[in-house]
């Protein structure tokens, strides 16, 4: 009776109604079946009493009750479902079968593959005699992130031709980090550790957004994904820490040292596999529960604003300039990155149509105060660079600072226009998403160009 070829208008209407039900997170497949059976029976009773099917459908739907109230009732009775759906994606799933689903198995398979791959250099005897830690610091992202890229390429159904550039990028990066003659304990090598994952995140982004990588909305989705991914990864890492401590403790109680197991297997394989598992969890629970990153952004925006304003006021009050320590530039980069994160996640959760409110003014205050603090810091750092010259670390940090400063300054300008009712919120969103690749490109420059430019030191 669900043969699409002979589908009547009534069947179409019922299908549409079912699609609406399906979009409600508290109503499950089997509930929909039950409600559908009810609806059909009501319709046929009404048709028998002389109504035509269209009218019967309208009345039956009306009698079923407003969808919002209905899904609220279901949510109240089945609050546990909201959690269950974190792990079991329900779209199109047969109500009688539960479990991981096809996507879950593929994600799990890729997670195992990543866990095994991270051990391959060790198992195949590729490890250098010295500097094992540095080998892994350079290569770990290259051993794990291809699997994450593959997951999204598979999930978006990307054609194989489009896999090739990404594969080439990974292979190229692998050649670069292993063939460059870094001087031992040099700072260009350390910069590579820090910047390679940022550069590769662009590849993930390309795979994630699929064919729509130009669209601002899809890029914003990727920003949301990154934030949720980070939160899940941290949570899983915490759990992994407990598991490791427990393993060590339990084996120690029987006089067996399990450190080789924990350090050689649980930690590296777990850390690699968790990347895939986190990504899959974020995907599976998409739009099921309120996203966490925007919530955290809401909580910390006022707090960061207060601290920054307090800092500026104290600096003016005491007349004390910033004492330029060795790592101070990095610290201010991090500050700007945090502010940018707060801005991005506040933007990602905001309804672009809504008018400017108190929170927007707060966000603007945060961005402006961060800019002021950073300009003070930059002035101090510029003086130091002119005294002591350029080093790879200083140039990299200065580049990042400039990138973030431009981004935030223009954001502040757009935000000001928006708050005063002269611009749209969409303009801010577009600016942010258009800017995203620049961060990855700068990171790529640091990885590729810095070591030869600075003589591998």
């Amino acid at each position: 009776m669900n043969d699409p070829a002979v589908q009547s208008p009534l069947e179409e209407q019922i299908d549409q109604w079912k699609a609406y039900l399906r979009s409600r997170r508290a109503i499950h497949g089997s509930d929909i079946e039950e409600l559908e059976d009810h609806l059909r029976e009501r319709i046929s009773a009404l048709v028998e009493s002389g109504l035509d099917p269209d009218e019967a459908f309208l009345i039956a739907v009306k009698r079923m009750g407003a969808l919002d109230t209905l899904s609220q009732e279901f949510a109240r009775e089945h609050s546990e479902r909201l959690w269950k759906q974190l792990v079991v994606p329900t779209t199109g799933a047969d109500p009688s079968t539960s479990g991981l689903g096809r996507e879950g198995w593929i994600a799990l398979g890729l997670a195992v593959a990543a866990g095994v791959t991270i051990k391959l250099p060790d198992l195949l005897g590729f490890l250098p005699a010295e500097g094992v830690d540095r080998f892994y610091a350079r290569n770990a992202p290259l051993l794990v992130l291809p699997f994450l890229t593959a997951y999204f390429l598979w999930k978006r159904g990307t054609e194989v031709v489009r896999w090739l550039p990404l594969a080439a990028a990974f292979i190229g990066a692998m050649l670069v980090v292993n063939l460059y003659p870094y001087s031992p304990d040099g700072s260009t090598e350390t910069l590579t550790f820090l910047h390679l994952p940022i550069a590769l995140w662009l590849a993930i982004g390309i795979a994630y957004t699929g064919e729509e990588w130009r669209l601002s909305a899809r890029r914003m989705d990727f920003v949301r994904f990154s934030g949720e991914f980070f939160i899940y990864y941290v949570l899983i890492a915490l759990g992994g820490g407990v598991l490791t401590a427990f393993t060590l403790g339990v084996f120690e109680s029987i006089g067996v040292n399990a450190e080789w197991l924990a350090q050689g297997w649980i930690i590296p394989c777990g850390a690699a596999g968790a990347v895939l598992v986190s990504a899959w969890l974020v995907e599976a629970k998409q739009s099921v529960v309120e996203n966490m990153a925007p919530v955290l952004a809401r909580i910390f925006t006022p707090l960061f604003t207060l601290i920054l304003l307090g800092f500026l006021a104290t600096m003016v009050w005491t007349g004390q300039g910033i004492d330029v320590e060795r790592d101070v530039l990095i610290a201010f980069d991090l500050l700007l990155a945090v502010v940018l994160g707060l801005l991005l996640y506040s933007i990602s959760a905001r309804d672009p149509e809504a008018p400017a409110g108190f929170f927007d003014i707060l966000l603007l205050t945060l961005v402006v105060s961060a800019l002021l603090v950073d300009i003070v810091a930059l002035a101090a750092i510029a003086a130091r660079i002119s005294d002591f010259g350029f080093t790879p670390n200083r140039v990299a940090a200065l580049g990042e600072n400039t990138l973030l400063l431009i981004n935030l300054a223009w954001s502040a300008w757009l935000y000001l226009r928006f708050v005063r009712g002269r611009g749209t919120f969409l303009a801010i969103e577009r600016w942010q998403t258009a800017y995203l690749p620049l961060f990855a490109l700068w990171a790529a420059i640091v990885v590729l160009a810095f070591p030869p430019l600075f003589g591998w030191r």
């Binding site: 039950e34 059976d37 009501r42 009750g65 109230t69 009775e77």
Partner: protein, 135 residues
């Protein structure tokens, strides 16, 4: 007459249990039975029945089984459990207590206006008033 929302909600559990105590029904048939029994005075929004059924199922008062309708659709029908019967008995006792209380209040009210109306003449008409009217 339409019965208020709170009362409909409160009576849902004993009503569903009592109907299922008669025989096994699926959701649509339960609603049919409700409007039949109440003469249409008790109107439920159709969809709201299902969260109630699922709650009762979770509490173990009823159990649902998937079968097929005559048209071949998958259909879930519900039957009462022993636990459900015990709960129904308890609910019934409670409702009867409420009902009894209300009844005596209604009776008192029905008599009161009459009493007030004739109060000024009570002494004059007292000999002619049947005793039962002045309890």
């Amino acid at each position: 007459m339409n019965i208020g929302k709170d009362l409909v909600a409160a009576s849902a559990t004993p009503l569903v249990l009592a109907i299922l105590a008669e025989e096994e029904f699926h959701g649509y048939a339960i609603l049919g039975r409700v409007s039949e029994l109440s003469g249409g005075a008790l109107q439920w929004t159709d969809g709201m029945l299902y969260p109630v059924l699922h709650r009762l199922e979770k509490q173990g008062f009823i159990e649902g089984t998937w079968g097929r309708s005559e048209a071949g659709r998958r259909r879930k029908s519900y039957r009462i459990t022993a636990l459900g019967r015990a709960h129904l008995a308890e609910q019934r006792a409670q409702w009867e207590a409420v009902d009894e209380t209300l009844r005596s209040v209604w009776n008192a009210l029905a008599v009161a206006p009459f009493k007030l109306a004739i109060a000024p003449f009570a002494h004059a008409v007292a000999p002619f008033t049947p005793r039962e009217a002045f309890p």
